[in-house]
């Protein structure tokens, strides 16, 4: 029977090949979309995989994540250096990296941070940042730039650049007085890091020594109240005057206590003296966020709670992976649309197969009559059609999976370079196998329609060979 079926299909090889092709296409598409989706999600979830907690002034998790990891928007308010030191001293925490932001260089966000940033940041499934050339900044006027920045302006190690304040496309104010020298260029990551310029905390503060900086970033004024729900004046002052002078710091904290009227009054004043902390030669007044790593990953929730209850300053500790999934869920509509499309293509492929099987039936009536005259039962003819469907589906699925893995082999490096996405060339996952099984079963179910038609036809035709 199998042999007969195979030869019969071979006889119609052109149209059979087309059908197999359309099934292969739908299988490749439906599995490809699924793989892209899960990998995008995993890659996305990994885009902050080295970081256990992101700590910022109280605010929305997703917004904090967007600002610190993706360089989009800002955190609500700043947090004091005292809080940074408090967090650094927590026994559960093994490393911390301060993050300052709000500046841009020709439209690319400037991040003030410490050298440890380059050790702890992870992207694309746990890869460390690598230096394509040069080294991390060692001095206040050193800067490390992302791959896209380097590409956009042709910067290399040694290039002198000038920063502009504010995070819009338009530079509000060019800080001629504080030029930076590029010390290193990061390798391509396919993440927001490619678009970032990194400078030391001291270098970042140096941008703001100019009196003009007071008016420089008007966005904070507009955004901060609704976002962080905090006092307007408070936000404004904190973000725009990250004074590094001891007296300025003092004055700032006084104003802070005044303006916000929080229960932490007085405490800030007593802790406002400069600290002599290991490893920090520069202490900014406020920073925007802290990346932190824990000794025991399991302690993350208790640390999160502890920081939320911190009384000196209203803090939010964000679990990056949780926030990333939250952010991801926002895109789920597009995701659903994509899956629906893939599903529709699969349905079209199935319909194509049923059409092919059905259309050939009339031409094959005499084939069935001959088969019956030599002893094939109507049930046998019925199963012949089903067998054909099985062959077509199997060939289509095999071809589709092969085509997909060939395709991923080709586009994987491209995706990885441009989007930090790795589809992975590995074997199909359980879900993918399930999807393939669904395609197979629905195809088989659909082919019952022509098979039934043949069954009835052979019964009514008998031995009559209609022309």
């Amino acid at each position: 029977m199998f042999n007969l079926c195979y030869k019969s299909l071979l006889n119609r090889r052109f149209i059979a090949a087309l059908t197999v092709l359309s099934i292969a296409l739908s299988v490749a598409l439906i599995v490809g979309v699924e793989r892209l989706r899960t990998e995008a999600r995993a890659g996305f979830a990994n885009s902050a995989s080295g970081i256990d907690l992101i700590i910022a002034a109280r605010g929305n998790d997703v917004q904090i994540l967007m600002a610190t990891v993706f360089g989009v928007g800002t955190t609500g308010a700043g947090i004091s250096w005292d809080s940074y030191e408090m967090i650094e001293d927590l026994p559960q925490i093994i490393w911390t990296v301060p993050i300052m932001m709000g500046d841009n260089h020709r439209g690319y966000p400037v991040i003030g941070t410490s050298e440890q940033y380059f050790d702890h940041f992870r992207h694309s499934g746990g890869r460390q940042l690598i230096f394509a050339e040069g080294v991390p900044f060692k001095s206040p006027d050193g800067a490390v730039i992302g791959a896209k920045v380097a590409q956009a302006f042709g910067y290399t190690s040694g290039t002198e650049i000038v920063n502009a304040h504010g995070s819009g496309e338009v530079a509000f104010d060019v800080h001629d007085e504080a030029p930076f020298t590029v010390t290193g260029v990061l390798g391509h990551t396919g993440t927001a890091v490619d678009r970032m310029v990194f400078v030391s905390l001291e270098g970042f503060d140096a941008l703001h020594e100019e009196p003009a900086s007071e008016v420089a970033d008007p966005f904070v004024l507009i955004e901060a109240p609704e976002v962080a729900g905090e006092h307007e004046d408070h936000d404004h002052v904190e973000l725009d005057e990250p004074d590094e002078h001891e007296e300025g710091h003092q004055e700032h904290d006084d104003r802070h206590a005044h303006g916000s009227g929080h229960e932490d009054e007085g405490q800030t004043v007593t802790t406002s003296d400069g600290h002599d902390h290991d490893g920090h030669d520069h202490e900014p007044g406020t920073i925007n966020a802290i990346f932190a790593g824990l000794e025991e990953k399991t302690a993350v929730l208790s640390v999160q709670r502890q920081l939320a209850d911190h009384r000196d300053e209203a803090l939010t500790a964000v679990l990056p992976n949780v926030a990333l999934l939250q952010l991801w869920s926002i895109t789920s509509t597009a995701e659903t649309a994509l899956r629906l499309m893939a599903g529709a293509v699969a349905v079209a492929g199935m319909i194509g197969m049923v059409v092919m099987l059905s259309a050939s039936l009339d031409n094959r009536r005499r084939e069935f009559a001959i088969l019956r005259s030599v002893g094939a039962t109507p049930a046998g003819v019925f199963s012949l059609i089903l067998l054909e469907a099985v062959l077509l589906l199997s060939a289509g699925i095999v071809l589709g999976v092969i085509a997909l893995s060939a395709l991923t082999r080709v586009i994987d490096p491209i995706l990885a370079a441009n989007f930090g996405l790795r589809i992975g060339v590995g074997l199909p996952s359980f879900r993918e196998v399930l999807l393939i099984a669904i395609v197979f079963c629905s195809g088989l179910l659909a082919s019952i329609i022509p098979a039934l038609r043949v069954y009835r036809m052979t019964l009514s035709d008998g031995l009559l060979v209609r022309l």
Binding site: L4, K7, I370, T377, G462, L463
Partner: protein, 228 residues
């Protein structure tokens, strides 16, 4: 011994007022060759279908090789058909994507009885049958059936009907697509092989010129009217 026995067979196509067949009695002896004639639409093909058990016939009206065809259930009837009957159609007898040889061997594929009766090597038997029917060329019989001439196709169909020595061979106007010369050759070859295997042959045709080759001749309208 009678290979086919019809007794008070009445058959009516669904939705038609008059029966197409109403045969009081008709028999085929073993090894006998019968020519059946009758105008178009008189029910010749229907009669062959009744004997082959492709249409539903009442019980004990049709006996083939001693078995009541009407009493057999669907699947059994299909198996019975291939076990005991060889059938040659008017045209398009072959599966075009199989070779002549494979087409000839089709009944052996579906029927153990036919396979067993076609000797230790069915393939050799098929080749012998084909060469006796004038298809000696091994290249020819291994080429797809669609590449054969109509006359060659009909001879392959005859070989297929004869392989495994079924009791009865039914032929429904197998010569209508052949020219005068090929017709006679074909009928003579078919008759010779039926005699050799001892099969009864029921040969339906419009063509009176072929009548002379057969043991006897039956007119279906007469048979239907009860005049035989």
């Amino acid at each position: 011994m009678k290979t086919v026995e019809l007794k008070s067979l009445v058959f009516r196509w669904p939705g038609q007022p008059d029966p197409v067949l109403s045969v009081a009695s008709f028999d085929l002896e073993a090894g006998e060759s019968v020519f059946m004639k009758g105008p178009s639409g008189s029910g010749k093909t229907t009669l062959l279908s009744a004997i082959a058990g492709v249409i539903d016939v009442p019980q004990s009206a049709v006996r083939v090789a001693g078995t009541d065809v009407g009493a057999l259930a669907g699947g059994d009837r299909d198996r019975f058909r291939v076990d005991h009957l060889g059938i040659v159609f008017q045209v398009f007898n072959l599966l075009p994507w199989l070779s002549a040889l494979e087409n000839t061997l089709l009944p052996c594929r579906f029927s153990a009885r036919r396979r067993n009766r076609s000797g230790p090597d069915p393939k050799a038997t098929a080749t012998r049958l084909l060469s006796e029917l004038g298809l000696e060329d091994t290249e020819l019989i291994n080429r797809p059936a669609s590449a054969l001439s109509v006359g060659q196709q009909q001879r392959v169909a005859a070989a297929r009907a004869l392989i495994g020595a079924p009791e009865v061979v039914l032929a429904d106007e197998p010569t209508s697509a052949l020219d005068e010369e090929a017709k006679d050759t074909f009928v003579q070859l078919l008759l010779k092989e039926c005699k050799a295997s001892g099969a009864s042959l029921l040969f339906v045709s419009h063509d009176r010129s072929l009548e002379k080759h057969f043991d006897r001749s039956v007119d279906l309208p007469m048979l239907n009217a009860g005049k035989t």
